[in-house]
């Protein structure tokens, strides 16, 4: 193989992809959508002008005012958390409460009729009545024209629960604040043990990292494998392939194409990574608020392994796609054959759960050393729990050897297949091509 030939092909493949509008639309849509999803609601919440005007009819003396305080405090806490990037309760659509406390009148029916009329007239949005009966039953009627504002109702419910508890505790002679302090919930901090020592990690984080990497690898391989296939088909159908093969070998063409398109895929990943980094930066809203709102820590070594496994997986699957492109004449013809590749891609998904649960089981070790499974399953094991180094290295060696052999095989199909126009070959014919080339 000649490096300058491969470089020329690689350059063309890369620039053609990266210069196209479609590439940038696909690349930018995801971060923009995420940004919109994350930033816009908090902007809305912070500057919301929507207010919820509520009348609290207080039949208990002081509870109404306490409820109003509670609602305002809860609101302030939510906005504060948003700004700090640790938004726990996502209730962005909630409106701001404007609470007016009115004393309970003797004629409850007349007061109810009057307040209902004000709701219907649009003067206020809702009203509730807190009194001895509602405190005892722990039940309050929420009377409003619109009753579908669940988030507003939930916040109101929380505040009521708190205020009622306080009132009941006080009636029993307890210090409400002290009780809250003593009955706070417990948190579990998980520690991941590695050769380098213990690192603190949020409970779900290991799993989430593995899953995220897994998902990215799958998506990118599926998308870019298809691009490789279409690239080969395009060269065949436009007939330029004969001009190319006059000065270059099938292997140079194949390697240049795979590396060039792979580089375009890495460019896309890099843009996504930068966008994620920007969105999760302190001060900006916490995007990866997984579980407890902890951003998972990924060790640099894991990132390096991810990159290597990504490349191996990419070459593995895209050379299969290239061979399919070379053996067929059109996307319609090629599509059914991609079914041959899919099982290799999907099979490791089925073993994900057993591998996560027991990453050192014989099953997990053996499966992660099968070349077509290594990029996904070995990566999963590395993310969940560090496997022995020799297993990681063996995985690299076996998969690389497999990829090299596969590419040599595909170059043969490519060489014979690119000049075959007409009917799709049978598998027996493919075998003959491979022997003959």
């Amino acid at each position: 193989m000649r490096a300058d030939q491969v470089a020329a092909i690689l350059r063309r493949e890369y620039l053609t992809r990266v210069k196209s509008k479609g590439f940038w639309i696909a690349t930018l849509v995801l971060p923009l959508a995420l940004a919109a999803l994350v930033v816009l609601p908090s902007v809305f919440l912070a500057r919301t002008k929507a207010t919820h005007r509520m009348v609290v009819v207080d039949g208990l003396g002081g509870v109404g005012a306490r409820l109003a305080d509670e609602l305002v405090a809860a609101e302030r806490a939510a906005v504060g958390e948003l700004a700090a990037g640790i938004e726990r309760d996502r209730e962005p659509e909630m409106s701001r409460f404007v609470v007016k406390v009115e004393a309970a009148e003797l004629d409850a029916d007349a007061q109810r009729a009057g307040l209902d009329a004000r709701v219907l007239a649009g003067e206020i949005d809702s009203w509730i009545r807190v009194d001895r009966a509602s405190l005892d039953a722990s039940r309050v009627d929420y009377r409003a024209e619109s009753v579908s504002n669940f988030l507003t109702q939930r916040r109101l419910e929380k505040a009521l629960t708190r205020v009622f508890s306080e009132a009941r505790l006080a009636a029993e002679g307890y210090d409400a604040a002290r009780v809250v302090e003593l009955t706070r919930a417990a948190d579990l901090t998980t520690l991941k043990l590695t050769e380098e020592g213990a690192t603190e990690e949020a409970g779900m984080a290991g799993f989430m990292v593995a899953y995220l990497l897994f998902f990215l690898l799958y998506t990118v391989v599926a998308i870019y494998g298809g691009l490789v296939m279409n690239g080969v088909l395009e060269e065949k159908s436009s007939r330029i392939v004969e001009v190319l093969l006059a000065t270059t070998t099938a292997k140079e063409l194949l390697v240049g194409k795979l590396v060039g398109i792979g580089a375009a895929g890495l460019t896309q990943l890099a843009v996504w990574a930068l966008a994620l980094g920007a969105l999760t930066a302190p001060g900006v809203v916490g995007l990866l608020a997984l579980g407890d709102g902890v951003i998972p820590q990924v060790a640099p070594a894991v990132l390096v392994h991810f990159l290597l496994h990504f490349l191996l997986g990419f070459f593995l699957f895209s050379s299969m796609y290239a061979a399919i492109g070379a053996a067929t004449n059109s996307v319609q013809e090629a599509q059914p054959l991609t079914g041959v590749v899919m099982p290799f891609l999907i099979a490791p998904m089925l073993f994900m759960m057993p591998v996560i649960n027991d990453p050192d089981s014989t099953l997990a070790v053996v499966l992660s050393l099968v070349p077509t499974f290594t990029p996904l399953l070995m990566m999963l094991r590395i993310a969940v729990k560090s496997p022995p180094l020799w297993q990681i290295l063996l995985g690299y060696v076996l998969t690389t050897a497999f990829v090299v052999a596969l590419m040599a095989l595909c170059a043969r199909i490519y060489r014979v297949g690119v000049l075959m126009y007409g009917k799709r070959p049978t598998f027996a014919e493919l075998g003959r091509w491979i022997r003959r080339a």
């Binding site: 092909i9 350059r11 053609t16 436009s238 330029i240 000065t247």
Partner: protein, 301 residues
Amino acid sequence: MTPTVELVNLRKAYDGHVAVDDLSLAIAPGTVFGLLGPNGAGKTTTIRMVMDILGPDRGEVRLFGRPRRPEDGRRIGYLPEERGLYRKMTVADQLHFLAALNGVERGRGRRLVADWLGKVDLAEWADKKVETLSKGMQQKVQLIATVLHDPELLILDEPFSGLDPINQGLFKELIVELRGRGRTIVFSTHIMEQAEKLCDEIGLVARGRLILTGNLAAIKRERGPRAVAVRFAGAPPPLAGVPGISAFELGDDAARLTLDDGATPAGLLAALVATGAAVAEYRSLEPDLESIFLEAVGDAS
């Protein structure tokens, strides 16, 4: 002199059908060589084996005096029978890419592409996508792609098929120019008139076999002349029975006479004058390539 292209006992079969059978030939440097034959004779298969796009079942391709190597591709300008360009690439990008693939250094490639595009009046199309060009313009781009890296050897498969008259003229000029600069040119065609005008040497292929090869002028000398054209001052004399004539076509004052196997044009002229005919014009007719070809195919089968 070491032949630029040498084919030794080439054979290629597809699933029982023999496309090229035991084909050997040698092409000297600086020659314009026409590979001639009807469609399906095996011309394209032969050319693809020379380009190492197909591997021969048997035999050997030798280029520049040694067995073919992958890097020989850069010394060749190849125009395949099935033309093709990247439709979505711009004209300039496409040519820069093909120049790089042929080992032309980038800066030089840019200058060459600009020069060529100017030469064929496509300069203002440099940044347009190929698919927006007319067919004639695409042919010009393909032509530039073939000669851009100034190859020593040109291999053109049916270069004139599908070309509009302007591009045909352009192509012929180019072949003559390249030949003047000592380049070796091999082209295939099934249209004999084109070959007749351009070739120094020819190889006739029929059903996968080379049935006749050599210098075109020598072949013509060897094979002919087999007929003469005569114009008489006044009415033609009776021609039946004149020795040396095997057949004749008669006009008002002219005739086309086919010679007997042993006869020569000079001998026939003497015989005609001896009959007392007033011969105003007498010209021996060289056989055209078409008839040589038909005759050769007839002999071979």
